[in-house]
Assembly symmetry: C2
Homo-oligomer: 238 residues x 2
Amino acid sequence: MSRTIGIIGGLGPAATADFFKKLIAATPAKGDSDHLRVLIDSNPRIPDRNDAIAGRGESPAPHLVAAALGLERAGADLLVMACNTAHHWQDVIAAAITIPFLSMIDETADAAMRSGAATIGLLAADGARSAALYERALDARGRAWLRLDDAAQRDFMAAIYTIKAGDAGDGVRAGIRAHALSLIDRGAAALIAGCTEIPLVLDANDVPVPLIESTDVLVRRAIAVARQSQRRRSCEAA
Amino acid sequence: MSRTIGIIGGLGPAATADFFKKLIAATPAKGDSDHLRVLIDSNPRIPDRNDAIAGRGESPAPHLVAAALGLERAGADLLVMACNTAHHWQDVIAAAITIPFLSMIDETADAAMRSGAATIGLLAADGARSAALYERALDARGRAWLRLDDAAQRDFMAAIYTIKAGDAGDGVRAGIRAHALSLIDRGAAALIAGCTEIPLVLDANDVPVPLIESTDVLVRRAIAVARQSQRRRSCEAA
């Protein structure tokens, strides 16, 4: 039997739905019963992560831990969180539970390493940038990175909040793409889409270098881990 | 504070993701925090509903009840189920929990009544058809209905399983649309899309009569009920 995946979601809700949809689409299945069991707590009442990191608001940490514990109690065998920025609190979450937590940041940084690019361009929300989540993950792996300057970041962040408000139209698409291309102009040989709202408006065909999408990376990894125990048990039974 | 919606899902998973996505899209929201909290148990291991109704397989009832109880325990204030056919067991589920269960069948039948159509065409999976879920709901409301004959139903059902296997391409779209049009030719003045896979391949623009989609109807109703308590409490506070 495969393992049950728990998703800490609602950060935001549309990104959670996107993650869930991609998880289903990427699962090899001939019918319903081949799919993985997934438990989702989509809780948009969790305080804003970017505001908290900027010191402007309540910490989401107790809410994230509560969601993680609730999902474990409900039967999840492993946890993921469909939000890069919230990984600022990943150690607190992982310490609170007894099941594995798959880190979107670590998995995505590992995938960026495998791209072989000498310099990785980073697109991330304010909170993830302020907390230097990807910067530190790539530093730890000895890989160069570059990111948007402060003015460009403000414009990028406005686009992210526009997407969160439900607008994923041409204007916001063009804006996000322009920021992606600016990083490539400055020398990035691969890009990390380190915010779950990005794939709602940008895909691999929009840029001429590898686009490492944190959502896709974590989806693939979660499926592999959830099915691993299945394969292992099948081998043991054989 | 709005109420938390629990979704019994995985029946199938893609239909659950579609329901979740539509719930988010239909929620009036300027940002993450305006959205509703949603708990999902997407459990594709629940035995096939159509097989069970046909007497060919294990009953999903204990699994559906377990999912309902788990969602209530996890904090859901009201429950919905993103699968028409599974509503064959709606009374068992509703009896097991202390929170309200919003029936997709009853809400959709009520919406069909509001269309004013004298005769309602029914598109539903084998199990829902064998159990006469919509037929009985419309009989109880004194409204005429018609449905596919046995041969057409077999072809329709093959298309549904194709969608469940991940293929929502042009072939399956054309097939489902042809069956919808055949009901209109026979006199249906409105159609109930009484299977959550249908809106994955057919929308209102594809047919010349009102298309009452069970997914959309339940999404709108769940949002209204979840937000009702919020408005009521705001009024009390005012």
